[in-house]
């Protein structure tokens, strides 16, 4: 049996940490941009870049409320994103089991 390839969108340290952090929330819950940034210790620019890539793939959804300085962005893992992380975890398990 051939092991599944590791999803390149998740298999990058920063994006793996983003997806893993959001997966710890109950299904459907979202996390504010500032709390996520605080937890991961990434710069805003770096975090935005990774979030965009994950959102473009349908793994995340973001929602912004308010305007200007009062605006608040929330990020949540989609079902597709949760499934992608499960597949990635299974692929890792297969790879490591074969080592």
């Amino acid at each position: 049996m051939t092991a599944e390839p590791l999803d390149p969108l998740i298999h990058a340290p920063a994006r793996l940490r983003i997806v893993a952090t959001l997966s710890a929330l109950p299904d459907g819950d979202s996390l504010s941009f500032t709390r996520l940034q605080d937890m991961l210790g990434l710069t805003p620019g770096n975090l935005i870049t990774h979030l965009r890539r994950l959102e473009d793939a349908g793994y995340l959804r973001s929602e912004t409320t308010g305007n200007g300085r009062a605006s608040r962005t929330s990020i949540a893992l989609t079902r597709q994103g949760r499934a992608a992380l499960e597949t990635y975890t299974r692929a890792l398990r297969d790879l490591l089991g074969g080592l």
């Binding site: 990058a12 340290p13 793996l16 996390l31 620019g45 949540a76 490591l96 080592l99």
Partner: protein, 225 residues
């Protein structure tokens, strides 16, 4: 990503080149464990500390009523100590809750609020209503101020939590709640003074068991690296 107009550095999108599977597994496990710790509404240490406070408080109630013939109930000083312990435990829980839920939104909030209201109502109404009814029908102080306030909260609140845990298929919470209900039933037959001891030990075992199961769950890595 609108609303995050604070880009202050050139964005760098790292890729997974050089990240071997073992490193990835370790990073995944570490990140999930840290995130679960930060989002945890009832961390294991707080559950154990609260369990110890409960054990000391119920132990003090037992010591202050042991050997009373006829039973008169615990002294006011001990009752004050119990209320102080409960107040400290509630204050610590509120602080942890606020920190854990900072920046978090979603459907789990309304569910937690509903669960909290159900537990509060069963706690506030369960034992006092039974005590009032028993007093009204002429039951002795041993029943009204001994057996019922020691055993009833464990049975009433424990059963409420049992239902919540069953609805969520949460086996850890279900097991802990079942232990508390069983302790409440045992306390109901342990006599007015012994009821406090049995209830305190039962609550302590239920809480420590829940904390231990929680720690084991969090230590279970998604992938063994």
């Amino acid at each position: 990503m609108q609303g995050t107009n604070d880009i202050d550095q050139p964005a760098k999108a790292d890729d997974g080149d050089g990240l071997d599977p073992r490193e990835a597994a370790q990073l995944l496990a570490r990140t999930q464990r840290e995130a679960q710790r930060q989002f945890d509404l009832s961390p294991a240490w707080l559950t154990v500390v609260t369990g110890a406070v409960v054990l000391v408080a119920y132990g003090a109630l037992w010591l202050s009523t042991r050997g009373q013939h006829p039973y008169e109930g615990p002294s006011l000083g001990v009752v004050g100590l119990v209320y102080a312990g409960v107040a400290v435990a509630i204050a610590a829980s509120v602080k942890i809750y606020r920190r854990a839920t900072s920046g978090v939104r979603g459907p789990s909030f309304s569910q937690q609020r509903g669960e909290g209201i159900a537990i509060l109502v069963s706690f506030v109404l369960g034992s006092p209503v039974l005590q009032g009814a028993m007093k009204h029908y002429g039951a002795s102080d041993a029943i009204v101020y001994g057996v019922i306030p020691a055993a009833a909260p464990l049975i009433v609140v424990g059963t409420t939590v049992l239902g919540i845990a069953a609805a969520k298929s949460d086996r850890r919470q279900f097991g802990a709640a079942l232990a508390v209900v069983v302790a409440g039933v045992a306390a109901a037959f342990a006599g007015p003074s012994g009821a406090w001891l049995v209830a305190g030990v039962g609550l302590f075992i239920g809480m420590v068991g829940y904390a231990a199961a929680d720690v084991l769950r969090q230590r279970r890595a998604p992938v063994r690296a």
